[in-house]
């Protein structure tokens, strides 16, 4: 049973560029959440997708956007990258209204 997978593993981008991160949820899960984890900090909630709609959003600017596909996989897009966007981006999946979430290994984004 495959767990949550994310791609790519690592990514280096330049300020002002745009980036797309991808996530496939655990088998049987239909809800995907994205978190940003800065170095030495706890994860911060970006947004959550369910039934291809953004169901909940954290305190992140509009530069952060997402999408969920009919197969429940998801993308996180970040426009106009800033140095402060450098972080580990974690994807988590869950089922419907269940609150326990299962995390992928993350994508390490470095903005130079």
């Amino acid at each position: 049973d495959a767990g949550v997978t994310q791609s790519p593993t690592h990514l280096i981008k330049t300020r002002g560029q745009q980036v797309t991160l991808r996530c496939s949820p655990k088998s049987g899960h239909d809800t995907v959440s994205w978190y940003q984890q800065a170095l030495g900090q706890g994860p911060q909630f970006i947004f959550q997708y369910y039934e291809e709609e953004e169901r909940q959003r954290g305190n992140f600017p509009d530069r952060f956007s997402g999408h969920q596909f009919p197969n429940y996989s998801s993308e996180l897009n970040v426009n106009a990258l800033l140095l402060g966007d450098s972080a580990l981006y974690l994807c988590a999946s869950s089922t419907g209204r269940r609150h326990e979430q299962y995390f992928g290994p993350g994508t390490r984004l470095t903005v130079t």
Binding site: G42, G58, R97
Partner: protein, 115 residues
């Protein structure tokens, strides 16, 4: 707004000693509570959860936690730690009646187990 405070940023302990990692949350409503562990360069793994029922919750790897509503705490304990327990531990909370199921995390506690 919800917040989670992990009272100790670092906890050093010797192998086979007991350990307690402290977590307090701020909420006047019912909450769900979680502990996650993160090993170096990896994602988060769910250790245990409290949704309802018994306030003493048992998780994987010999960990347990006790929900105390009056003190708004959810401390994590293990009676005897191993070197392999060295990792970052995160306490998290979510609210049952919000639109989604977002988790709010604390800043984490680094558990360092030495021989």
């Amino acid at each position: 707004a919800q917040s989670v405070t992990q009272l100790d940023s670092q906890v050093p302990v010797f192998e086979e000693a007991p350990v307690e990692l402290r977590c307090n949350y701020s909420s006047s409503v019912s909450v769900y509570l979680f502990w996650y562990v993160q090993y170096p360069n990896q994602g988060l793994q769910l250790l245990l959860k409290y949704l309802s029922g018994s306030t003493l919750v048992k998780g994987i790897n010999g960990f347990e936690a006790e929900f105390n509503k009056s003190q708004t705490s959810f401390h994590l304990r293990k009676p005897s730690v191993h070197i392999s327990d060295t990792a970052e531990y995160f306490c998290a909370v979510s609210e049952p009646n919000q639109a989604g199921t977002a988790l709010i995390f604390g800043k984490g506690t680094t558990l360092s187990v030495s021989s």
